[in-house]
């Protein structure tokens, strides 16, 4: 819920800062909404494992019958369902604020739907690595923003390409990036959590 409000607030602030140049706003809409989505998802990422770690639940979960990788995958999905999915649904409404041309809406929704799972997936690795770091939420963005940047490039690029009526090669790349991230992250994040439980 916080993520959605934050997303809306950031996206609403940009037109105020940039000014009433409708043409410009329409061009930058995709990029701004993508960056706002990444920042909103970051807000809750550090809590993926930390609250369970602090109250001792993580020990009990690790000793349970599910492999830790499966638990991590479930937590990634939960994070996406509470951030990525609502942000994707809300994005067309915010795009109205930017006067996004009619041709861009499909690309906006598809690119966010394809790309936001990668944010949750790569974010889970960062959350696992910073689990025992005091104020780990501050280091987490430094770790994962570079890794997420391909999703932002392909996602925002796809929206621009569809505005210009160009052939769109960004969607397959974005999809592939997201797929690989979701596939591999549970293993990396679980290994990071195990390492931090050693302490």
């Amino acid at each position: 819920m916080m993520a959605v409000v934050f997303f809306a607030a950031v996206a609403a602030l940009v037109p105020l800062g940039v000014g009433a140049d409708l043409k410009l706003l329409g061009r930058i809409a995709g990029g701004v909404l993508w960056v706002a989505a990444v920042l909103a998802a970051l807000l809750s990422l550090d809590r993926i494992f930390q609250s369970d770690f602090e109250d001792g639940s993580l020990d009990l979960i690790v000793l349970g019958p599910l492999p830790l990788e499966a638990v991590v995958f479930a937590k990634m999905c939960a994070h996406w369902l509470t951030t990525g999915l609502p942000l994707t649904i809300l994005s067309p409404v915010l795009a109205l604020l930017f006067n996004l041309p009619a041709g861009g809406y499909d690309a906006l929704i598809v690119s966010l739907a394809l790309g936001t799972p990668a944010i949750s997936a790569i974010g889970a690795i960062g959350a696992g690595l910073t689990l025992t770091v005091r104020r780990g939420g501050l280091i987490l963005p430094l770790l994962i923003l570079p890794l997420i940047s391909p999703a932002v490039i392909f996602g925002a690029g796809a929206i621009l390409a569809s505005l210009d009526g160009l052939a769109n090669g960004a969607f397959p790349l974005l999809g592939a990036f997201s797929f690989v991230a979701v596939l591999l992250s549970p293993f990396a994040a679980a290994a990071a959590v195990r390492l931090n439980l050693q302490g």
Binding site: E54, D55, G56, D59, L60, I61, V62, L63, G64, L197
Partner: protein
């Protein structure tokens, strides 16, 4: 409950950072026994329990559990399936009520035990619908004991189980552990206060030496 016939520890050395806690530790616990770990603060009781649970990789030595079919499990991930854990923290989610929390763990651990009975056993039946953030430290401890008893795991690892419990709570711990041992379970208990029953004891050394 899958049964275990014993826990064997050989030549175990544990380090915490650059400091050695102990080395060449060896002991065995067999089914029906509860080992009480004693020792001053910092002597490595919690680390030993975490090593047995598989959270902490020992520098040297082996930790093995034995099943009655004479199978041995030495890796941490294999041992995990036998372990009932009661750590320093109670693992109570502040937004969840005791009933919700216990139901989650009962399902997660694949158990069909009635959650209400487990709550009644630890004297929390009237607080089943109160979010855990309103429970006192002792009540949260009782909740953790209820969760332990319905985990149906043969090897209990208890870290200071008596912390913040009142007199009847302490009796409750003794009863739960005795019952668990009578059912063929094992327990390793780190404690400063003696529990009210006889059993093997292990004193870990002074961290200064």
């Amino acid at each position: 409950m899958t049964a275990l016939s014993g826990l064997d520890i050989e030549a175990l050395s544990l380090w915490r950072g650059e400091r050695m806690l102990f080395r060449d530790l060896a002991f065995s616990v067999s089914a029906g026994e509860a080992l009480q770990l004693e020792g001053p603060n910092g002597s490595g009781k919690t680390s030993l329990l975490r090593a047995i649970a598989g959270f902490l990789e020992p520098r040297a030595g082996t930790i093995r559990v034995r099943t009655p079919g004479n199978e041995h499990f030495a890796s941490g991930e294999e041992r995990a399936a036998f372990i009932g854990w009661l750590g320093h923290q109670d693992g109570a989610k502040s937004q969840l009520t005791p009933l919700e929390g216990l139901s989650f763990y009962a399902r997660y651990y694949g158990n069909t035990v009635r959650v209400e009975e487990a709550l009644q056993r630890v004297g929390l039946s009237r607080l089943g619908d109160l979010p855990a953030q309103y429970l006192s430290a002792g009540q949260k401890r009782r909740l953790a004991l209820a969760r332990l008893s319905l985990s149906a795991r043969p090897l209990w690892l208890l870290d200071e189980p008596l912390a913040s419990l009142d007199a009847s709570g302490k009796t409750l711990v003794t009863e739960l552990v005795s019952q668990h041992c009578k059912d063929g379970g094992l327990a390793v208990i780190a404690t400063h206060e003696p529990l009210g029953f006889e059993g093997p004891r292990l004193a870990l050394g002074n961290p200064q030496t």
